[in-house]
Symmetry: C2
Subunit: 338 residues, 2 copies
DNA sequence: GACTGGCACTCCGACGGCGGGAGTGCCAGG
DNA sequence: CCTGGCACTCCCGCCGTCGGAGTGCCAGTC
């Protein structure tokens, strides 16, 4: 009883189950895949696979269904992800090339990914941390309120309203703006914080509280509120996954609304093009019947953010992984060329 | 047979059906509402109501269910929307008061609305058209690319990348920035367009193509791309509405993804506090089993945008309308005080 | 004339019994 | 180590039954 064939059997079970959504039996297996042996032989292999925990049967005398562990082995031993067709590649290219700014890139990407995979797509906005500050702008609004705008080289713009507590003179404002830009412009966002420390002291005592509040808002924008924006698309695809409301649909919709949870799901962005797959119970929360395929993306060696796809554990892993990887590469290229 | 009682019967049928989700019969009606007459009498009323098209029975010898026309009459003849409890009002207040900027207000509003109504909430970002321009900023990015930032008095910030085709001198950039602000700052967005016409001619011929592309991008931001942003929350609540995937859930999720469709659903913002209710087939698209309760909001007499709730036709209209109206009022106040 | 109690009727939906069929495990033989 | 055969299990769809909820109608009452 060869080890290799058992893997082939598992592979075949996963493929059939994914495409039919029904438990698969020994007979239909040999019919659909030319395994070169009889159903009885396959049954023996299946018995072993079941004992080892890779497959299970819903009821006695039913076909087999892959377990989380089975999907895991399937993904780990996958020969290769499915390459995209030429038409798909052209579609990606033309769809993404029309983007006018970063927001547009992200919006188009998430829609594209949802359409290609026919599942729920999630794209995190590029992290501020490793971007370079291009410009800091301060604009007086009414009374004691200022608007702080932070512009980075990825084209991302963050704004923030600051209440200074007392009116700030225009001249002071101009001075502050100039000093902030002197410190921040051209530096990486993560490094700017260190240069802001002694800035308050350069101002007259009566302005210092105002300056301090601007600085703290800036630090906030730079550090705390970073990374929490995500775009989601394709939720309508969830209706294709059977009808187990309580345990499948609701937890997914809830997770999609909680952006913090969503970011946990996507996981840390490592280097671009390194695909991560989380299967069933490997996911945080009660998403035990869902899987996530994610990948980092960004213009350079370091990934700035993550994008991915959320679907049922019974998903087409090779196809999904191929699509996610391809889209991430295109988007990375676009970011690099900007 | 009094006309008044028939209305009471319809009202009672709607209320019972909304709370139990099951067809309601004559006997349970008299048990739950003290109508002062016997089931047989109610049956006569129901026969009339059915003949007039306000109610229907799913099968012979089943209870009655309100039709779209029945809900419509119910809503039109509603004595009043349900006022919120003190606890709810306090919750709204404290939840919205923590908002730091416009984005935050919208995000908090949509979540709050979803939570209060236990349905899907949709909030449109305030329209640019009637806002006042506070500041226009131009920042050089790499090579021939500029970033155009538009700041309005509602605290909204729009950005846009412009490719000028050729590098632009810093001095020209500063000049252009100053001129743009001279024309635009302090004016209403809708009026700015007219003032930009002859600006190109003030520059040297070699800079004119660059200036023209900046201007066209600005006009684009001002006019075309306006009004299309919406926030959505509470999609997980859709799982509470029975299990008719094909005709209920999927159309709703699809509508929620298409922001243009969503805006049609919400309808035109008229004056604040004027509630609109669209029931069943009154909605555009194939949302024939959904209803939308929407209302305009904004700081002044004119509504800047719309917010609302999407749910099944069998929703708690008085409660939903009360919540939507209350939240819109609070948000309008917050916008006015900024 | 409006309301009521009574009555016959309809029809949904839950329950239970009954195969058919798909799938399994095991065993003996090649 | 593979295979065909065989007995066994159990899901699932089908069908007839039956109770109950609800209705419409009619005759009687205030």
């Amino acid at each position: 009883m060869s080890e290799d064939r058992r893997l082939d059997v598992l592979r075949a079970i996963v493929e059939d189950y994914v495409s039919t959504q029904e438990p698969v039996g020994s007979k239909s297996l040999v019919e659909r895949h030319n395994l070169g042996v009889s159903p009885a032989t396959i049954r023996n292999d299946m018995a072993v696979l079941e004992e080892e925990g890779y497959i299970a049967q819903p009821h006695t005398s039913a076909g087999r269904v892959p377990t989380d562990k089975g999907y895991r082995l399937f993904v780990d031993r996958m020969r290769s992800v499915k390459p995209l067709s030429g038409a798909e590649r052209r579609a990606i290219q033309s769809f993404l090339d029309g983007a006018v700014d970063l927001d547009d890139v992200v919006q188009r990407t998430v829609r594209l990914l949802a359409q290609l995979t026919r599942q729920v797509a999630v794209v995190q906005y590029p992290s501020l941390l490793r971007s370079t500050v291009r410009h800091v702008e301060l604009v007086a609004l009414t009374g004691t309120r200022l608007l702080l705008v932070l512009i980075t080289d990825t084209g991302r713009v963050d704004q923030r309203v600051v209440d200074t507590g007392r009116p700030v003179d225009d001249a002071v404002l101009a001075d502050l703006r100039a000093r902030l830009n002197a410190v921040a412009a051209g530096r990486q966002v993560g490094e700017v914080a260190t240069g802001l420390g002694d800035l308050t002291e350069r101002f007259a005592p009566e302005d210092r509280t105002a300056v301090a509040s601007v600085l703290s808002a800036l630090l906030d924008s730079l550090l705390e509120r970073t990374d929490v924006r995500v775009a989601v698309a394709g939720t309508a695809n969830l209706t294709r996954f059977g009808q187990d409301f309580e345990h499948t649909l609701r937890p997914m919709l809830e997770a999609l609304e909680e952006h913090v949870v969503l970011l946990h799901l996507l996981g840390e962005a490592t280097r671009p093009a390194a695909l991560t797959v989380r299967i069933g119970a490997e996911n945080p929360g009660n998403l035990s019947s869902a899987s996530v395929v994610s990948v980092g993306y960004g213009p350079g060696e370091q990934a700035l953010a993550t994008m991915g796809v959320l679907g049922p554990t019974r998903m087409d892993y090779p196809g999904t992984m191929g699509a996610v990887r391809a889209v991430a590469r295109y988007v990375s290229n676009i970011l690099a060329s900007h």
